[in-house]
Symmetry: none
Subunit: 538 residues, 2 copies
């Protein structure tokens, strides 16, 4: 039996301290569900004492019935006060969570400088706060902030803080490298000392200011820690937190620890990309394990060796983490993914079908142009059904024109003129909107609704734009992802162009087309199929 490591995810709390990361309550709920399926053991959702948005999140998250322990974050009581009257600690208890992370000081310099209180009062604050939460039947994870800096400065005091937390009943004691300046050998030595002195279970929380957060986490595990605190993609303040996407596979595939099931580990790449999409943060192509280039080989000698035996230039099989090998010159990857997707849809595209090669080439060509079907299931399904010859075009575009006009002191005006053909009829309409995409959406909807009244029930629920080439940014290619809903169903479509309006138009068109085939299916009452298509209840 391999030793189990507990995974504590703080993407939703410490992760949002990262520059440019801002998550709505909806975003947080989506990520929490994903993390839960992935198999992390604790999901730190936020600080119910600091703002109303987090209280709202905890309320809604309760109804998700997660297997993971939903965890609230807060600080020890204020100095010179009574713990029962501490508003933030009461807020944690009221939030109804079963586990709480409590942060306290363990660096004497910080007690003096930041808290401006005595070393004794700091100890009392920690003891009282943990004991209070324990009396209220919560599991308590005590985060010793700046523990390593504290230990280096005053080892007796830093250790005494941890012992006090243990006496108060803390279930886990977390050693935090808050400033991210500690080296792996220091982490190993210090955690080893703590491990000899304490009985409580130990946890590690590191930051990436020296590009060492992953190594520091591994060193702590080797020294006896049994819980890892980190975030998906390493999001977090300054240089970020320890990246769970690198730590989990290394612990499990290389060091013999057990974190999650193998099938869950095979979701790693998907989880990383999903969270980056929700957070609207560009994922570096060269990110370890999960990046698009993590198993990409540029021509020449490497490629011919890879073709003989992939172990020649790959440290693990990419499938173990749900990633794939890419040979950058002639890309053959992905075929099996797409075939299995076609099978899911009940389409007869197998590798013996001559259509298969054609649709594979088409998809490869589109991906080369910048399309990405990972976040656009509905567009992929339309492509596959089209290749299978089962899609009748319900309408075609003849032209559109979009005008945005702004004069000083007058509000901006957007209007769209759309000309489409439905059967033999040409429909020519115009509409305003409070933005160009909204104007296009309105004009297109107006044209279509006369023939397809059921479209009234659908609307766009999310709209994302990503610029794909960072250089000369406004001249680069743009990918638009649109999520649509008719309340029961959600579907995602994609458009790509050098022009954000054209890319939006493409994604809009796909969204309407998908709504029409979906509604037709529901009307025809083919439940097994629609279930598989994700057209209901998803």
């Amino acid at each position: 039996m391999s030793t189990a490591i507990s995974l504590f995810d703080t993407t939703l709390r410490d992760g949002t301290q990262g520059e440019g990361i801002s998550l709505s309550a909806d975003d947080k709920l989506k990520i929490a569900k994903k993390l839960d399926t992935f198999g992390v053991h604790y999901i730190e959702g936020g600080n119910p004492g600091s703002n109303g948005k987090d209280i709202e999140f905890f309320k809604r998250a309760m109804s998700l019935n997660l297997r993971a322990k939903l965890t609230a974050f807060g600080s020890t009581r204020r100095k010179d006060s009574i713990v029962e009257q501490d508003a933030n600690l009461n807020r944690i208890v009221e939030s109804g969570v079963k586990a709480a992370t409590l942060v306290g000081k363990s660096w004497d310099f910080h007690v003096h400088t930041a808290l401006q209180t005595s070393l004794e009062e700091n100890m009392a604050m920690i003891y009282d706060s943990i004991a209070f939460l324990k009396r209220n039947h919560l599991e308590v994870i005590f985060d010793a902030e700046h523990f390593f800096d504290g230990y280096k400065n005053n080892p007796e005091y830093a250790l005494a803080v941890l012992k006090r937390a243990e006496e108060a009943g803390a279930d886990w004691i977390t050693m935090c490298d808050t400033n991210g300046g500690t080296l792996p050998t220091e982490v190993y030595d210090i955690v080893s000392s703590v491990h000899r002195e304490l009985n409580a279970k130990l946890s590690i929380h590191t930051h990436n200011d020296c590009e060492l957060a992953v190594a520091n986490t591994l060193a702590a595990i080797q020294a006896g820690a049994r819980q890892v605190q980190g975030t998906i993609n390493g999001y977090g303040e300054r240089c970020g937190n320890a990246n769970l996407c690198s730590i989990i596979p290394t612990l499990q595939l290389k060091m013999g620890y057990h974190c999650i099931e193998q099938e869950q580990l095979a979701q790693l790449t998907n989880v990383a990309r999903y969270v980056s999409e929700i957070a609207n943060v560009h994922m570096p192509v060269n990110q370890a394990y999960v990046g698009n280039a993590a198993f990409a080989h540029k021509g020449g000698i490497h490629v011919s060796a890879i073709l003989r035996d992939s172990r020649t230039y790959e440290h693990i099989a990419p499938e173990l983490v749900g990633n794939k090998q890419r040979v950058l010159v002639s890309e053959l990857a992905g075929q099996s993914n797409i075939l299995s997707r076609a099978q899911d849809l009940g389409l007869s595209l197998d590798s013996n079908n001559p259509l298969t090669k054609e649709v594979m080439n088409r998809i490869k060509d589109l991906e080369h142009q910048g399309y990405s079907f990972e976040g656009a299931d509905a567009s992929l399904e339309l492509l596959l059904r089209e290749a299978n010859g089962e899609l009748k075009e319900l309408f075609t575009l003849e032209s559109f024109k979009m005008i945005v006009e702004k004069s000083v002191d007058r509000p901006v005006v957007s209007e769209a003129i759309v000309k489409i053909r439905i059967d033999d009829e040409s429909v020519y309409t115009a509409a305003e909107g409070n933005g160009p995409v909204n104007a296009l959406d309105n004009a297109l909807r107006k044209a279509l609704i006369q023939h397809f009244p059921s479209l009234k029930e659908m609307h766009l629920s999310d709209y994302k734009v990503r610029v794909m080439d960072d250089q000369d940014a406004t001249a680069a290619k743009v990918r638009v992802l649109i999520e649509s809903t008719d309340f029961n169903n959600h579907w995602n479509t994609v458009g790509v162009s050098g022009n954000v309006i054209e890319a939006s138009w493409e994604a809009l068109i796909d969204s309407f087309r998908y709504a029409l085939i979906g509604q037709k299916k529901v009307a025809n009452n083919i439940p097994s199929d629609t279930q598989r298509l994700g057209l209901v209840n998803h």
Copy 2:
């Protein structure tokens, strides 16, 4: 005296194996000059045996008279051949460099699978090739490819390879973790063993496939290696090479080794950003030491502690690596963040100033509308300077009109018409673009450049769009963030509107305004102020 570490930069060779990295001979020369001033000891320029572009580079680089040793890369002679007749090795000698890196196999599996020769012949290939280069008076760095995988599989053979290289006269012996799958403890143990067995100077070359390249490099140094091979920003195949921008400051500031002079280290951030500009690769904001967010503080509590003593949340003084502290303004923070930002700018907005309350209310109001200044330093600075009454408007908008037109079978067309007022003159221009924002950028630039020719040097380097309310997505508010650069500086601006075009327009205008006040300051030569503003040398 602290121990000296030799720095071997391979940005121009291994770095260009990274996906999306492609450098012209001109680019390479620019980077070589920068690296030389920065103080690296070896600059590996390419493989003269593999392509003519690299031969051309070496020819031109010779005339730069670099202090660093220009180094050529190549493989050991072909199997079953005579070394004197090896075209690639002769090419290295002919290139005129004084040092060469020679890569050879040290993993028995690779000898069999990739080379398809015998273990004895591989040894002979290594011996002959090194001896040949030594006879031609070159310094030889022997790169033992896959050394760690080789050692784990067959330690006797892997060590025998290194000994053979030593016998042949190699000046440096490099242990490569080519596949990036080795852990720091393994690196430490293996390098320690090698250090006991060999007399030659040892070098370390790691890859980042487990996000451990930096830690592995440090572990090798601790075990006795005295040279580091790596790249600027960690560019390289798959997940990249060891990142010199993280390794150098950690070795020098935290571990007591000597790599370069302190004044050179203070150029680190500039070097990192310069290379990322030349390589056309966007730099992650959270990159260790040199990222724009590496010393950025968001949380309110963190900020008030930082103002008391920056060591509370900074592991080093950012100036040591040429970076700077930034206080991010966000909903999580409060008035103290904005005041400290104003102080940084030398503005007299303190809490007793009546203007302060006014500007705070203005910022709060804008944030309520959806503006976020956390990723838009330049827009915030413009607001603060405006409130302080020190901003003269250099131009004003009268109107713009933007048209996007698309007919079936014809490419989409975008054009923008812009009317602005500069002093008393009205400037009316139009331009096309390959998207609406590009068209606006082109038209505005065309109008402004006549009066402000220095704007030629700036360009947009990143463009981000975020939809802020998920409901009714295309009618929701949109936030646009634009990053601009003029090579030395980066600045970020924000625009918000229900209309993506109007939001982009706002962010564009701020970007141009900021460029103009920045350039004016540099021209007026106010070093203390511009230094603080980060407008020069950063």
